[in-house]
C-alpha cells in the first residue's frame, strides 16, 4: 500500500519551511520526502538517499 499521493505531506513540509527556514532549498526537502517514501522499510538506504540529495543541494548552492 505504497503512498499514492504525497501532495498533502509536501504541502505541510513547504508550509513549515516558509515559516521556519525560507532559505532552505525546497527541492532538498522534497527529495527527503521521496527518499522516505521509497525506502520506508530501509533506514540505511533512506540515509544514503538523503545524503546524496544533500550533496546535490550543496553543489547547486555553489553553482548559484
Amino acid at each position: 500500500m505504497r503512498t499514492i499521493d504525497s501532495s498533502e505531506l509536501m504541502a505541510a513540509v513547504e508550509t513549515a519551511r516558509l515559516s521556519l527556514h525560507p532559505e532552505l532549498d525546497a527541492e532538498f526537502l522534497a527529495a527527503v520526502v521521496r527518499a522516505e517514501e521509497e525506502f520506508a522499510e530501509d533506514d540505511g538506504a533512506a540515509l544514503k538517499a538523503i545524503g546524496e540529495a544533500l550533496a546535490a543541494t550543496i553543489e547547486r548552492a555553489k553553482v548559484d
Binding site: L24, E36, I58
Partner: protein, 647 residues
C-alpha cells in the same frame, strides 16, 4: 494500490475441500453470505493468515493451529490446511501461498506443525528477505486493522477516547501510520542522525587546527555526550514500548482469565483464612485446657457448700459438747481447769442442774471443725462462662473450617483445568511491569533534559567556532546547519500535517456518520481529539457523552471510511459481520454507505443481518458479486457463487 483477486483455501476451518473466491476487478462490493458456524470468520482469518502468518480469531486473539484444521479432516488423521491469495500491487500480480501440516500423527501444540510460505511475483519466486520486504510494502501488518476487521475490532475504537489507554495508543499509532505520518517522523529522525554526524565531523575538523583545537575538543565531547544520551533515550523508548506491549498482553491475559483469576484470588483468600482459623483453634483449645483444669470446682461447689454446712453444724455441736464436758469435770473435781479456780458447792449444784438437761458430753471438739477448716480451703470461683464461651467459639471454628475446606475444594476443582500458580505469577508480573514502566518514564524525562542541555552547549560552541574556523570547518558547519534546519522543518511539518489531517478526518468522518446515523436531525457531526478519538456532537453543540453500543459501532465505521478517504495508503476492506450491534435502520444506512468507504469491499454477513434482496436493493450497482457459504455438514462448508449478481 493493493487489490485482492482470488482466495483459495483448503482444510481451513469448516472448508474441508479446496474452495475458491474470485474477487471482481472493478471497484465495488463482494458479499459473502453465511449463517453462524459456516466459516465467515475463517475467511477473514485466512486472508490475515496469508499476509501475516498468524491465525486470529475474532478481535485479533491468536488461535492455535490445531483449532484451525478442518475437524472432518482431522477426524481422519489429516491435520493440514493451506491458503493461496492472489493480489495485485503496483501493477504486478502476486501469488502468496501458506501451508501448514502436522509433523506428528496427532498434534497437540503449534510446535507439532510445520509451516511453509511462498510468494510469487508474476513468474518469479521471491527469496525470504525479498518476500518479507514485498509483503511489508504491500500490506504492513501495523495497519491491517483498518482493512480486515470484525465487530469486536470496531469496538476497540472507543479506546481512542480514553487517555492513557494502551489499546487506544496502539490504534492511534496505527492511524498515524496509515495516514503517512511516519514518512515525516522518519525524515526528522534521519536528518537528526545526519546532523549528529556532521557535528562530529565539524568537531574533528576543528581539532585539527591549533586555533580551534580546544573548542573542537569541547564540541566533540558535547556531541559524544549528547549522542550517548540519545542512544540511551532510544533504548529507554524501546524498552518503554516493549513494557507497554507486555502490560497490554498481561492485561488481556488477565482479562481473558478473569474467571480463573478471580477463583485463584478467592482460593488464596480461603487458604489464608483457613490457616488463620486453624491457628485460632489451636489457641482456643489451649485456653480451654487451662479453663477446664479449674472447671471441676464448679461441679463440686454445691456438694462442698452442703458439706460445709454439715461440718459447721457438727463443729457447733462439738463445741457445745466440749463445754458440757468441762462443766462435768468442774462439778466432779470442784475445780475449773479453764479458769483454774475452785468451784463452790452452790455453783456445782447449779451446773449439775443445767448439765442434767443436756446431751451427753464429747471428750473433745475435733472432726467437724477440721472438716470445716479443710472445706474452707476449697476455691469456689466459677469459670463456667469462660468455658462456655471458648466451647462456643471452638464450635464456630469447626463450622468455619468445614466451610473453608469446602470452598477450597470447590475452587480447586474449578481451577483443575488451569494453572493457578501461573495465574499468580502473572498477577505479580503485571504489578512489576507497571512499576518498571513508571521507572522508565522517569528515566526518559531525565535523559531528555540532559540532551537539551547538551544541545544548548553544542549551539554555543558551534557559534564560537563559526567566527574563527577554517574554510573546511565552515563548510562542515554549514552542512550541519542545513541538516539541523531541515530536521526542524520536518518536526514542525509533522505537527502541521497531523493537525490538518485531524481536521480532514473529522470532516470525512462527520459526513459518513451523518449518512449512517438515524439521528441526522439531532446530531451535527463528530469532533476529533488528539488521538483520533471521535465524539458525537449534538446540534446544540454539546458532546454526547453516553453512547450506545450501536452508536459506537457507527462512529467506528465512520472513522474507517474517513481514514480510507484521507490516507495516502489505501487498499481493500474486508468486514466480518459488522452489523451485529445495529438495528435495521442503521444497518440499511451503513450498507448503503459502504461503497463510499473503499474502492474494493468484501462483506461477510449472515442473512439475519441483511437478507439478499435487501442487500441487492441497498447496494444497487455497487454489488458486484455474491457468494454463499453452504452447509454440507457441521464440519464441512462449501462456497457457492450466486448467479444473480453482475460483474
Amino acid at each position: 494500490m493493493l487489490w485482492l483477486r482470488r482466495l483459495q483455501i483448503e482444510g481451513f476451518g469448516p472448508f474441508a475441500e479446496r474452495q475458491v473466491i474470485e474477487f471482481p476487478e472493478s471497484p465495488g462490493v463482494t458479499v459473502i453470505y453465511g449463517e453462524n458456524m459456516r466459516g465467515k470468520t475463517s475467511l477473514l482469518a485466512a486472508i490475515r493468515y496469508a499476509f501475516f502468518g498468524r491465525v486470529m480469531a475474532r478481535g485479533l486473539r491468536q488461535r492455535r493451529l490445531l483449532t484451525v484444521c478442518n475437524r472432518e479432516n482431522a477426524a481422519q488423521g489429516r491435520y493440514e490446511f493451506s491458503v493461496v491469495l492472489t493480489f495485485n500491487f503496483d501493477d504486478e500480480t502476486y501469488e502468496l501461498s501458506r501451508s501448514c501440516r502436522s509433523s506428528v500423527a496427532v498434534p497437540e501444540s503449534d510446535a507439532d506443525f510445520v509451516q511453509e510460505v511462498m510468494l510469487r511475483r508474476d513468474r518469479t519466486i521471491l527469496g525470504p528477505d525479498e518476500r518479507a520486504r514485498a509483503l511489508q510494502h504491500a500490506f504492513p501488518g501495523e495497519i491491517a486493522r483498518f482493512f480486515l476487521f470484525d465487530g469486536e475490532l470496531l469496538q476497540e475504537y472507543e479506546e481512542l477516547l480514553v487517555n492513557e489507554s494502551d489499546t487506544g495508543h496502539h490504534i492511534s499509532e496505527a492511524i498515524d501510520r496509515i495516514l503517512g505520518v511516519p514518512i515525516l517522523t522518519q525524515a526528522r529522525v534521519h536528518l537528526t542522525t545526519l546532523t549528529a554526524e556532521a557535528d562530529q565531523q565539524a568537531a574533528r575538523e576543528a581539532q585539527r587546527h591549533q586555533a580551534t583545537e580546544s573548542l573542537g575538543t569541547a564540541l566533540g565531547q558535547a556531541v559524544q555526550q549528547r549522542d550517548a544520551h540519545k542512544l540511551e533515550l532510544a533504548r529507554l523508548r524501546t524498552q518503554l514500548g516493549e513494557l507497554t506491549a507486555q502490560r497490554t498482553e498481561q492485561e488481556e491475559f488477565l482479562a481473558a482469565h478473569q474467571k480463573y483469576s478471580s477463583a485463584v484470588e478467592a482460593l488464596d483468600d480461603a487458604r489464608t483464612k483457613h490457616e488463620e482459623i486453624i491457628a485460632e483453634e489451636k489457641d482456643k483449645r489451649a485456653e480451654l485446657q487451662v479453663a477446664m483444669s479449674d472447671a471441676w470446682r464448679s461441679l463440686l461447689r454445691d456438694r462442698v457448700r452442703a458439706a460445709k454446712l454439715a461440718a459447721q453444724t457438727d463443729a457447733e455441736h462439738e463445741f457445745e459438747s466440749y463445754g458440757l464436758r468441762l462443766r462435768a469435770q468442774a462439778i466432779e473435781s470442784a475445780h475449773c481447769e479453764t479458769c483454774d479456780q475452785d468451784v463452790p458447792p452452790e455453783v456445782q449444784a447449779r451446773l449439775r442442774d443445767r448439765l442434767d438437761g443436756s446431751r451427753s458430753a464429747t471428750t473433745s471438739p475435733g472432726s467437724g471443725l477440721r472438716r470445716l477448716v479443710d472445706l474452707g480451703r476449697f476455691d469456689e470461683s466459677d469459670n463456667t462462662d469462660v468455658v462456655k464461651l471458648l466451647s462456643r467459639r471452638l464450635a464456630e471454628i469447626g463450622l468455619e473450617k468445614v466451610r473453608l475446606s469446602d470452598q477450597i475444594s470447590d475452587l480447586t476443582t474449578q481451577l483443575a483445568d488451569s494453572d493457578p500458580e501461573f495465574l499468580r505469577r502473572s498477577r505479580a508480573t503485571y504489578s512489576e511491569t507497571v512499576d518498571k514502566i513508571a521507572a522508565v518514564k522517569r528515566a526518559i524525562d531525565d535523559e531528555t533534559t540532559k540532551i537539551y542541555d547538551q544541545e544548548v552547549n553544542i549551539q554555543r560552541l558551534t557559534q564560537k567556532l563559526e567566527s574563527i574556523g577554517s574554510t573546511a570547518l565552515l563548510s562542515t558547519q554549514a552542512r550541519a546547519r542545513l541538516l539541523r534546519a531541515a530536521a526542524e522543518v520536518f518536526g514542525s511539518a509533522v505537527d502541521k500535517y497531523k493537525s490538518d489531517l485531524r481536521l480532514r478526518v473529522e470532516a470525512s468522518a462527520s459526513r459518513l456518520f451523518l449518512r449512517m446515523t438515524t439521528e441526522r436531525l439531532d446530531y451535527a457531526g463528530l469532533s476529533i481529539n488528539e488521538g483520533y478519538g471521535l465524539t458525537i456532537k449534538h446540534q446544540d453543540g454539546a458532546a454526547e457523552e453516553a453512547r450506545s453500543a450501536g452508536a459506537e459501532h457507527v462512529v467506528a465505521l465512520a472513522l474507517m471510511g474517513a481514514l480510507q478517504e484521507n490516507a495516502p495508503l489505501r487498499g481493500p476492506i474486508v468486514m466480518d459481520s459488522p452489523f451485529g450491534r445495529l438495528d435495521d435502520a442503521h444497518t440499511s444506512n451503513v450498507v448503503a454507505t459502504i461503497p463510499e468507504m473503499a474502492v474494493q469491499v468484501a462483506l461477510l454477513v449472515y442473512e439475519a443481518e441483511v437478507g439478499k434482496p435487501r442487500m441487492r436493493e441497498l447496494l444497487g450497482p455497487h454489488l458486484l458479486r455474491e457468494y454463499e457459504l453452504v452447509r454440507e455438514s457441521a464440519r464441512r462448508t462449501t462456497i457457492m457463487r450466486l448467479g444473480s449478481s453482475h460483474d
